[in-house]
């Protein structure tokens, strides 16, 4: 196959929030930059974020980045790196105000400032009471943000390659990253994008689960490419199940609903969160709320004929507030649940939502891997930001509104790192190895020649069902052990997927087969990392690590206060320490404590 070569200073893969934010940094610095995206930029999944972006602006209640940092460390169940968390919380006001200057249509307070609402796990005074920290544009914050970032890139004349799918990372023998191979969907042609710097902003992989709030496109492409290229994936056992997906449909209902006063109720009409989180109640951290819901359902207190969901009630709010602050939610509820939330509560169920783990990076957005004695040595020419990256600011559980903040702060920081490294002359254009495109071409050739085997649809479905059953909201020792065997079987069958469609033009069957390769890497990483972590922490809670006086909430800091690194080649696991020391002397380390809300 003929492979065209294109050369850039920098290639960014992904044009969601993180990719677009990074692109602005590079375009404005005058670097020759290519942004590749499978979908038109405003179709990226950032568009679906609803409730807001965290920043301690203090527009409606007193707030400090110290409090935000405390909440984030506690929310992460102390697995988050405190240097990266300090960096993110300190930078929040700057990046949110920048976004306002770009034209983002935030809602406003009466005195004209950015409107802020309460959100789960965010508090005043180190956990004392809810704080108004989530900067919002109605319940369409992600849409408003993504469009504002795209628009700013139009102004900056960023060069996009729209509807191009990156296939594989290109590394030389020394491990330097030299760009990617990519497939133009319209023509089916493969190109090599040769670059001094490569930034991955490829988003999440929530489609590995059967029931997910994620878009069809969230297939972990960046993670798959990284895993195949020999770089480990970090903390992949930690997946967030959002408490409020529409029962049956999986579509997200923002936590902002509870921020505006929404209440979760069981079949008896009880506000059950009062029992699990007496202080923050319905606004406790997401992992806590999701587990409480499943506990209620398992106790027979679920609603409906199958008693398999609970209710999210906002009927006590005024219709004016609902129309003004939650118009999109009302629309979703009517369309996907058949319920007008002004009149009746919305049926909801915990649904896979966010991947806390990902490509290991530091707070500068540099991708890091173990090298010699250094457990976090930067990979030359390689950066990552947003949901695909693990900085790690979310640790074992992410707080709502911290994902939009993450993509702004680390998108910008990755961009700044590239510009700084470029200006310092550290990013030379290293020669392409002869075999730069071979891996991608071999994958395509296999799909081309494979006449029988497993259908992509069947393999994907067995992967999704396996993940859902064996690595869900609650995890069980035996199910995890069995899950590892099952997922390795699924991975084996994925090696012989076949497609009937052999057309070169906009071949979505081929695209889905290639995406499945990436999802399989993520699924293996998740199951193997989860089976190995013999404690409960954040979103990873297992039956054989229960709440005891010795190990509150089942957490075992003695043995498991460490990040997981999974290597695809041999399913090997390594571990590296959590950064318990903040970046500066401006703040004391947040000491380990039992997590209650």
């Amino acid at each position: 196959m003929n492979v065209a070569k294109r050369t850039f200073d920098a290639v960014i893969v992904g044009a969601g929030g993180a990719g677009l934010r990074a692109a602005l940094q590079l375009s404005e610095a005058g670097l020759k930059t290519a942004v590749l995206s499978k979908v038109f930029p405003t179709r990226s999944h950032t568009v679906a974020a609803q409730g807001g972006v965290a920043a301690s602006l203090g527009n409606s209640t007193e707030d400090h980045w110290h409090w935000h940092m405390y909440d984030t460390v506690k929310g992460s169940d102390w697995l988050g790196d405190q240097d990266a968390i300090e960096f993110m919380c300190k930078k929040a006001n700057e990046v949110v105000v920048e976004l306002e200057h770009y034209g983002m249509p935030f809602d406003r307070t009466d005195n004209g400032k950015i409107y802020q609402r309460p959100f789960g796990g965010h508090s005043m005074n180190y956990g004392k009471s809810p704080v108004m920290r989530s900067c919002a544009a109605a319940d369409r914050t992600g849409h408003a943000m993504l469009h504002a970032l795209y628009q700013r890139n139009v102004r900056a004349r960023t060069q996009f390659f729209v509807e191009w799918m990156a296939l594989d990372l290109i590394r030389d023998a020394a491990g330097n990253v030299l760009g990617v191979t990519a497939l133009e969907l319209e023509t089916g042609e493969v190109s090599v994008f040769h670059s001094r710097a490569t930034i991955f902003a490829t988003g999440g992989s929530g489609r590995i689960f059967y029931s997910s709030t994620n878009a069809f496109t969230n297939t972990g492409d960046g993670l798959g490419m990284v895993a195949r290229a020999g770089i480990p994936l970090e903390d992949m056992e930690f997946w967030q199940f959002h408490p409020t997906g529409v029962a049956g449909a999986g579509v997200l209902i923002t936590e902002g609903v509870r921020g505006e006063g929404g209440i979760l109720r069981n079949a008896k009409g009880e506000r059950f969160m009062e029992r699990y989180a007496p202080n923050l109640k319905d606004l406790a951290s997401r992992d806590v709320v999701s587990r409480s819901m499943v506990t209620e359902i398992n106790a027979g207190l679920g609603c409906g004929s199958d008693k398999d969901y609970v209710l999210l009630d906002i009927t006590h709010l005024s219709p004016e507030i609902i129309m003004k602050r939650l118009p999109g939610i009302r629309e979703i509820s009517i369309r996907f649940a058949g319920v007008d939330p002004i009149k009746a509560p919305i049926p909801v169920v915990p649904t896979c939502h966010y991947q806390m783990g990902g490509i290991p990076t530091n707070y500068k957005g540099q991708v890091v891997q173990p090298e010699g004695g250094d457990l976090a040595s930067p990979v030359h020419g390689f950066y990552a930001a947003g949901e695909c990256a693990c900085a790690s600011v979310h640790g074992a559980n992410r707080l709502g509104t911290n994902s939009l903040l993450d993509l702004l702060v680390f998108g910008k920081s990755a961009g700044e790192s590239v510009v700084a490294d470029f200006k310092a002359g550290q990013l030379d254009l290293k020669p392409l190895p002869e075999d730069a495109a071979d891996r991608s071409l071999a994958r395509l050739a296999r799909l081309e020649s494979q006449k029988e085997g497993h259908s992509v649809n069947d393999v994907r479905l067995s992967m999704q069902r396996t993940m859902q059953k064996h690595a869900g909201v609650f995890r069980f020792k035996e199910l995890l052990t069995e899950g590892v065997t099952r997922i390795m079987d699924v991975a084996e069958s994925a090696k012989s997927t076949y497609i009937n469609d052999k057309s070169k033009v906009w071949n979505t069957a081929r695209q889905e087969a290639l995406e499945l390769d990436n999802m399989i890497e993520v699924a293996k990483a998740t199951m193997i990392s989860a089976e190995a972590r013999k404690e409960s922490r954040g979103a990873h809670v297992r039956d054989d690590a229960p709440d005891t006086p010795e190990h509150p909430n089942g957490r075992d800091d003695q043995n498991w206060l460490k990040h997981t690194l999974w290597f695809s080649a041999d399913n090997r696991l390594e571990y590296k320490p959590v950064h318990l020391k903040p970046l500066s002397d401006d703040v004391e380390p947040i000491a380990l404590a039992k997590r209650t809300y």
């Binding site: 405003t42 999944h45 400032k113």
Partner: protein, 238 residues
């Protein structure tokens, strides 16, 4: 609403330039489960049956704007359309007026060119303040019904004026987005924006047919935005 197992019949526009000399309509049926409620659910099932069926989709909740198609003659998002409310056979065609790449996938270059032509970004050359620019809730309210556009192209490809002049007429979506910035108190380029649109084609090809309003999946009203632009042009002349 019927939600049990049932078989649904389709007539779908098919064209693969790699193998088809010309487009044709494919008759195909699919059995749906009780959980398959939206047209997109049915299309995903159809694709599992015939993997060559090509269409765009992503968020499946009506906010990314990928899966706009022509359904029984009307433009809409497949993910927001109830499959059981549709007359059968359900006729699916690509959005009208744009070149077809393959099956239900159209080339949206002209649509996006028009969007880009209105300078869809905030223009304010004053040095930004340290904190946010202030805007009253009432001023912000002016952007409601404008900023929510998802660029799905349902409106512009339902507009006869856009069919005739996709290269010269900005179209309902582009004009709605132009007005989104004209109406923003933080934007300083309203006058230049009006100058740019004062042209027999760019704005004035809108003949208030209002197909755009009828099909917008976000219930936006491009015609109203276009009329506001026209009013501003008149008022600055007198």
């Amino acid at each position: 609403m019927q939600t049990s197992k049932r078989t649904v019949h389709f007539k779908i526009y098919r064209y693969d330039p790699d193998k088809d000399a010309k487009p044709y309509m494919q008759d195909i049926s699919v059995e749906l489960d009780s959980t398959d409620k939206k047209l997109l659910d049915a299309m995903v099932k159809l694709k599992a049956k015939d993997d060559s069926l090509s269409f765009r989709r992503s968020c499946r909740e009506g906010v990314c704007g990928s899966d706009a198609v022509n359904i029984n003659g009307t433009n809409a998002l497949a993910c927001l359309t109830d499959v059981d409310g549709l007359a059968q056979p359900i006729v699916l065609r690509p959005l009208p007026g744009l070149p077809v790449i393959r099956d239900l996938i159209v080339d949206m270059t002209q649509f996006f060119n028009q969007y880009h032509s209105v300078k869809p970004y905030l223009i304010n050359d004053e040095p930004p303040p340290e904190r946010e620019r202030l805007q009253s809730p009432e001023e912000r309210e002016e952007l409601n019904g404008l900023y929510e556009c998802i660029l799905c192209a349902c409106c512009s490809t339902a507009c006869p004026s856009f069919w005739w002049n996709p290269d010269k007429f900005v179209g309902p979506s582009g004009l709605l987005n132009a007005y989104r910035f004209i109406a923003d108190t933080r934007d300083q380029a309203a006058s230049e924006r009006l100058d740019d649109l004062e042209d027999p084609y760019r704005l004035f090809r809108c003949h208030t047919i209002m197909n755009c309003v009828a099909v917008c999946p976000k219930s936006l009203n491009p015609t109203r935005a276009i009329n506001k632009i026209k009013e501003m042009m008149v008022s600055r002349m007198v």
